[in-house]
């Protein structure tokens, strides 16, 4: 296969795949609400078609065509999936105010004629130019930011299409950021990428950069949107007067030179009056859906035997907050059926500045009796903002013929509709909301436990208590120790003996007792302090040589006085008592 053959084969394959794709035709309008001094772009798009001719426009009630048709087409090959589209665009300008209709256009695609739906555009009076007059840049260019909403009077739950448009003229645009604006009180959904194009506005042609958002008010009252602000760099052409006169520096002025200036553009705020939904006439099964919806339902098959399943399929299509749309399938007191949980499938998309959605309920009903003749009606209620009233849609009841089962056995269901995890509610959801508030502050239960003083007490008191107890335990253990007891009582005991000796010092007949008390005071003190037996105490017990000598000397004198009587100056009782008292003090210092 040579290169030519491969190319031919590839082209054939691409055309074949393209031919297999389904042709889609749609008509869209760039905005659904404009003012008299604005233009709107009406686009007919044809996807995956070989040949499409320019559309024939329908009746234009209050519009005139400024430009068009402007034709564009694109051919894409994405991993073998070939897609193409052609677009025919018209720039329209309103010539009167009110709800204007762009009539049914017709387009011939691959020999087949398609009718395109009507589109209604809300046209208001031209805006006062003083509201947000175009800011003129240093080089004479114009730049301003505007907020616009599809309606400024809405209801809770009604979708509002908001555009934030930066209009600019005679300046270049660079590094434009997302506009910043306050949207408190709304659920917000950004729609697609920002649009950049040209448009007639206030009698002049402007370039514009438009950001689109879908808002759903969450509360009633006057809600303020914005002001929106945008930071961007603009390119301003440098005038020729200030330019170099060097002939080699672009002598024929082929290239325009620019300088970049940073700008912060701020819009006027926009106030939306959001009204609460009326309580009068609110249907019992109203779940909060606001918009316009259409309900279709059918039950198949229409003739079954007892125990055979009947599938009730209900489809809700509409424009509005489809999330809040909850369908009431059948009644609550239906007998004669085993009813299974419905499988719910939901798809939403934003097109033409509106949130659209389709919600499909598929529920299996199994007749358990031959007496049932119908499936009950399906109903759904919503608030229609165009009618300013609640609307209840009903489909059914659905006639059913039930024959006797051939098998005389207990009714069983052979096949159940698989319940898709995450999409099939196990209970009937009427509406979705957060759980309510708590009436009790809940603080009293543990407040005393978390009192500052209590916590500090709990932190500090146990260690303090432990320290006190430890001291008590230590003291008690020492008190119970006999050697400790001896030591602690030793000095008091020695002093007591000295006192007794002092009483006897002048009684000659009691000199033996006097000496015995002196000896006991010193001997017992050393024995008790060193926890030694009394009989084992001698001068060698003491370690200090000077003390040892003094001890020995005093003991010899006491022994001499006891056995030899009161002779000589060395045996003076007063002297002995004083010496014993002094030695005792020295022993106390030394043996500590």
């Amino acid at each position: 296969m040579n290169l030519k053959q491969i190319t031919l084969f590839a082209a054939f394959a691409l055309i074949s795949v393209g031919a297999l794709a389904e042709t889609k035709v749609s008509a869209t309008c760039s905005r659904r609400a404009i003012s008299m001094d604005e233009s709107v772009r009406y686009t007919v798009r044809v996807e995956d078609a070989k040949n499409a001719s320019a559309p024939t426009l329908g009746e234009m009630d209050g519009f005139r065509v400024l430009m068009g048709p402007m034709q564009s087409s694109q051919f894409m090959n994405n991993n073998g999936a070939v897609t193409s589209f052609q677009e025919f665009s018209y720039e329209l300008q309103a010539v009167k105010t009110g709800k204007l209709t762009i009539g049914e256009a017709k387009i011939k695609v691959d020999g087949k004629t398609y009718n395109l739906p009507k589109i209604t555009v809300d046209v208001s009076e031209a805006k006062k130019s003083s509201a947000n007059s175009p800011a003129t840049t240093e080089a004479g260019g114009q730049l301003f930011l505007e907020l616009d909403a599809s309606t400024t009077n809405g209801f809770i739950g009604e979708q509002i299409f908001l555009t934030v448009t930066l209009y600019y003229k005679d300046v270049g645009l660079e590094n434009a950021t997302q506009p910043e604006l306050n949207l408190n009180g709304f659920n917000v959904q950004d729609i697609g990428r920002p649009q950049q194009d040209r448009q007639r506005y206030r009698g002049q042609i402007y370039n514009y950069l438009r950001f689109q958002k879908l808002l759903i008010p969450m509360k009633a009252g006057k809600l303020t949107i914005g002001p929106a602000s945008m930071r961007l760099d603009i390119q301003i052409p440098i005038s020729n007067r200030g330019r170099s006169r060097d002939p080699f520096d672009d002598p024929f002025s082929f290239f325009q030179r620019y300088r970049t200036v940073e700008k912060n553009v701020v819009s006027e705020p926009l106030v939306i009056n959001v009204g609460a939904l009326p309580s009068k006439g609110k249907p019992q099964n109203f779940s909060g859906a606001v918009g316009q919806f259409h309900l279709e339902a059918e039950a198949t098959p229409k003739k079954v035997k007892v125990g055979e399943p009947v599938t009730l399929k209900a489809t809700l299509v509409g424009i509005g907050n489809v999330d809040q749309a909850v369908l009431e399938l059948g009644g609550t007191n239906v007998t004669g059926f085993t009813i299974y949980d419905p499988v719910v499938d939901k798809k939403t998309s934003v097109s033409d500045g509106q949130l659209k959605g389709i919600k499909t309920y598929s529920q299996m009903w199994v007749p358990v009796s031959q007496e049932v003749t119908e499936l009950p009606a399906v109903s759904f209620s919503y608030f229609d903002v165009t009618k300013n009233d609640y609307v209840t849609l009903t489909a059914g009841p659905f006639p059913l013929t039930v024959e006797k089962s051939e098998q005389n056995q207990k009714v069983t269901v052979s096949e159940a509709i698989p319940v898709q995890r995450g999409s099939a509610p196990t209970i009937k959801i009427l509406s979705q909301d957060i759980f309510g508030i708590k009436l009790q502050s809940g603080e009293e239960a543990i407040s005393h436990m978390t009192n500052k003083k209590f916590l500090l007490l709990a932190l500090v008191l146990p260690p303090v208590l432990f320290i006190i107890c430890a001291l008590i335990a230590f003291k008690r253990s020492k008190e119970e120790d006999p050697s400790f007891k001896r030591k602690s009582n030793a000095y008091a005991k020695a002093e007591a003996n000295l006192k007794k000796a002092k009483k006897l010092k002048n009684k000659k007949e009691a000199v033996k007792d006097f000496c015995a008390f002196l000896s006991a005071a010193l001997n017992d003190y050393v024995a008790d302090t060193m926890d030694l037996p009394k009989g084992s105490i001698s001068a060698d017990t003491l370690e200090d040589p000077a003390l040892k000598k003094e001890w020995q000397d005093l003991m010899n004198r006491i022994e001499m006085a006891r056995f030899a009587g009161n002779y000589g100056p060395s045996c003076d009782n007063d002297q002995l008592l004083n010496d014993a008292s002094r030695l005792l003090k020295e022993l106390r210092r030394n043996l500590k």
């Binding site: 950021t177 997302q178 910043e180 604006l181 306050n182 949207l183 408190n184 009180g185 709304f186 659920n187 917000v188 959904q189 950004d190 969450m218 509360k219 009633a220 979705q432 957060i434 759980f435 309510g436 508030i437 708590k438 009436l439 009790q440 502050s441 809940g442 603080e443 009293e444 543990i446 407040s447 005393h448 436990m449 978390t450 009192n451 500052k452 916590l455 709990a458 932190l459 008191l461 146990p462 260690p463 208590l465 432990f466 107890c469 430890a470 008590i472 335990a473």
Partner: protein, 253 residues
Amino acid sequence: MKKLFAILAFATLAQASSFEAAKYFAQGNTAYTNQNYQEAVELYKRSQKEGLNSPALYYNLANACYKSGDLGSAIANYRKAELFDPRDPDCAANLSRALSQTEDSISKKEVPPALRSFFFLYFYLGLKEQVILALAFWVVFWLALIVLILSKNESVKSAMKKFSLAFFIITLLFLGSALYKYYDAAHQGVIISEQAKVHAGPDASYTEIFILKNGSEVKVTKKEGSFVKILVHQEEGESQAGWLEASQIETIL
């Protein structure tokens, strides 16, 4: 030690609420019931200023913020309520609902169920409860030590040795758990402005690197001047870090 005191100080904030606080709380409830949600937010905030710091207050404040369309503050207050009462099913349900309405696909790193079961006390008990339990075991630990030193019975002494060790470990566990919970909450933030521009540095002059929408949960890692450094985990892809103005974020603690 500084953190320990901070935890204790925070726990002690929840003192017996004043009469004024209770009055504002009740008035907030009335405003909420009458669907005056913005008024309810103000009244609940006054009640908090007067010293009420209960999970019920944060929960009600979150509900009022949610109803008045302030998704970011609602999520922050649900998180506060969850911090003190993680077992409240209403709070968990409302938080889940509020999180489902955020625009950014940011994920909080989920703890594996096995780890959740193992550390069930951490996930099951609120911060205040953990502090109180840590203190209770602290007291019991010292009491066991006191019995140990005063008792003459050897078997009692031996038992008290084991008990005191066990109580000390439990005290450390609860204290550690409370510290971690406190640290985690102090570094957790929610975007409260409609959208927050995240810059490459702690100043508005740095390049804008991405934008976070109202209600996105982020980790606050640093503060410098009027800017904080944040870290976000995207559901798909890597984590992103950047700086944004501190006023655009509400931290849980």
